[in-house]
């Protein structure tokens, strides 16, 4: 079966009722990351998940929230408990006991050995902390690469989807490159650009949906990467027919609640 024939089965697959040959055919397309069926099934999963809203509305027991939060806080509580135990340890008596001279010499020797051991332990702890820091950094870098790979895949899925609408965000400064947007009703808006100049770290680019009525809605903040490229996917939280334009403004780092500068890129949507 080709992708066009399989498209009618996406929702049945997402619902879990598809069986036999049809299921196997579709799964074969998904296994080879078919650029039509993969986003098609992702969209179908969204459609089918909406059936959940047909369930009669029910109020969860008030205690459920507390149970969930208690279950995620045991580590914090354990830390607190350890602190309390440490604080509540009985303190040695302030009253000095009477000892013979040999006991003072032995105590001094013991103190020397203890001091040396503590210093050795501190050195080892420092080395261990350094190793942990390096591992954490490597892990974060690995995660960042994985995130970027996932984003690039998602951008490609949206760009290749027949349901996506391409939009060109035209720069107001002719020296700036064009920014491309691909609007998908369920997977989000993919934003791509090349040859962007380096953006100051104290500033950020901010993407807005400009509704036909009302104030602009912030969708994402982003920076071009070191190669001057932009690739991101922002969620769609507004029906397309309610949006007049997409706009990108230059804002202080962290973004602004409302645009503070004239849009640097704009695309008319409706």
């Amino acid at each position: 079966m080709n992708c066009e024939q399989l498209a009618a089965l996406y929702e049945e697959y997402a619902l879990g009722v598809l069986e036999g040959e049809e299921r196997a055919e579709l799964e074969a397309h998904l296994a080879r990351a078919c650029p039509t069926c993969t986003p098609g099934v992702a969209q179908a999963r969204w459609v089918v998940a909406q059936l959940a809203l047909a369930a009669p509305d029910a109020q969860p027991p008030a205690s459920l929230r507390g149970k969930i939060m208690d279950a995620v806080k045991p580590s914090a509580d354990a830390d607190a408990a350890r602190t309390v135990v440490a604080i509540e340890k009985p303190k040695p008596s302030a009253q000095r006991a009477m000892f013979p001279a040999w006991a003072w010499i032995a105590a001094a020797a013991l103190a020397l050995v203890t001091g040396y051991t503590i210093r050795q332990m501190n050195t080892q702890n420092d080395q261990l902390a350094l190793l942990r820091k390096e591992m954490k950094l490597a892990s974060a870098q690995n995660q960042a690469l994985q995130n970027q790979l996932d984003t690039d895949r998602m951008v490609a899925s949206i760009m290749l989807s027949p349901d996506s609408m391409p939009l060109k965000l035209m720069p107001t400064d002719k020296n700036m490159p064009m920014v491309h947007a691909y609007w998908h009703p369920h997977m989000g808006v993919a934003i791509t650009a090349d040859q962007m100049p380096a953006w100051p770290s104290a500033r950020t680019l901010q993407l807005w949906f400009v509704p036909k009525t009302g104030k602009p809605v912030s969708i994402a903040i982003f920076h071009p990467d070191a190669a001057g490229q932009i690739a991101l996917v922002a969620p769609v939280n507004m029906p397309r027919n309610e949006i007049a334009a997409l706009a990108v403004t230059d804002e202080p780092a962290g973004g602004s609640p409302q645009p503070t500068t004239t849009p640097a890129w704009v695309a008319q949507v409706n």
Partner: protein
């Protein structure tokens, strides 16, 4: 989700406040068992907490991911219960109290609109077609199981479900474009 990745428990509270009710409603509809529904919902949110790194915002909205995970967990429970019933002919004494089902005046507006749309769409379908879709979604039955449960031909059941889902797709497509 970024805050959950950083194990910020207040972010989980926020997510629960937003999605706890629809997730619980879904799980209760499937399981028909309040105590189990509570356990399943707890499990779903703890799974979200533990596996936040597997879900990234770039993969799409969180809501369908949560609904799908909750549905799968609830259907697993239902299948296990059916298996036990088959073996021991047990019946559950803990039935659904009517008092827990009530309107949601504070619900998310967008979700409420979609819920109305979905309910209206299902209501507009012929009874047999609606029943087939509900058996598939809320009870996890396959085409052939639905055919056996309704006494209809397998081809008819397939046609009902396919037609209903295509209407759902078109209806939601219109809503979001």
């Amino acid at each position: 989700m970024e805050r959950i990745l950083q194990q910020d428990s207040t972010a989980l509270e926020t997510l629960y406040d937003r999605y706890g009710r629809p997730v619980y409603s879904l799980v209760l509809r499937i399981s028909q068992h309040p105590a189990s529904a509570e356990e399943i919902v707890q499990d779903v949110f703890l799974q979200l907490w533990r596996s936040a790194d597997r879900f990234q915002i770039s993969r799409g909205p969180l809501e369908p991911w949560l609904f799908t995970m909750a549905r799968n967990r609830a259907l697993d429970f239902l299948r296990l219960k059916r298996e036990k019933q088959r073996r021991r002919e047990d019946s559950d004494s803990d039935i659904l109290p009517a008092a827990v089902v009530r309107p949601d005046p504070e619900g998310d507006i967008d979700r409420s609109r979609r819920a109305e749309k979905i309910r209206a769409l299902l209501s507009s379908l012929p009874e047999t077609q609606r029943r087939a879709i509900e058996l598939a979604f809320f009870e996890g039955l396959s085409h052939s199981e639905i055919a056996a449960a309704t006494g209809e031909a397998l081809g008819t059941v397939k046609s009902w479900i396919r037609g209903g889902l295509l209407r759902l797709r078109e209806s939601l497509g219109e809503a979001s474009s």
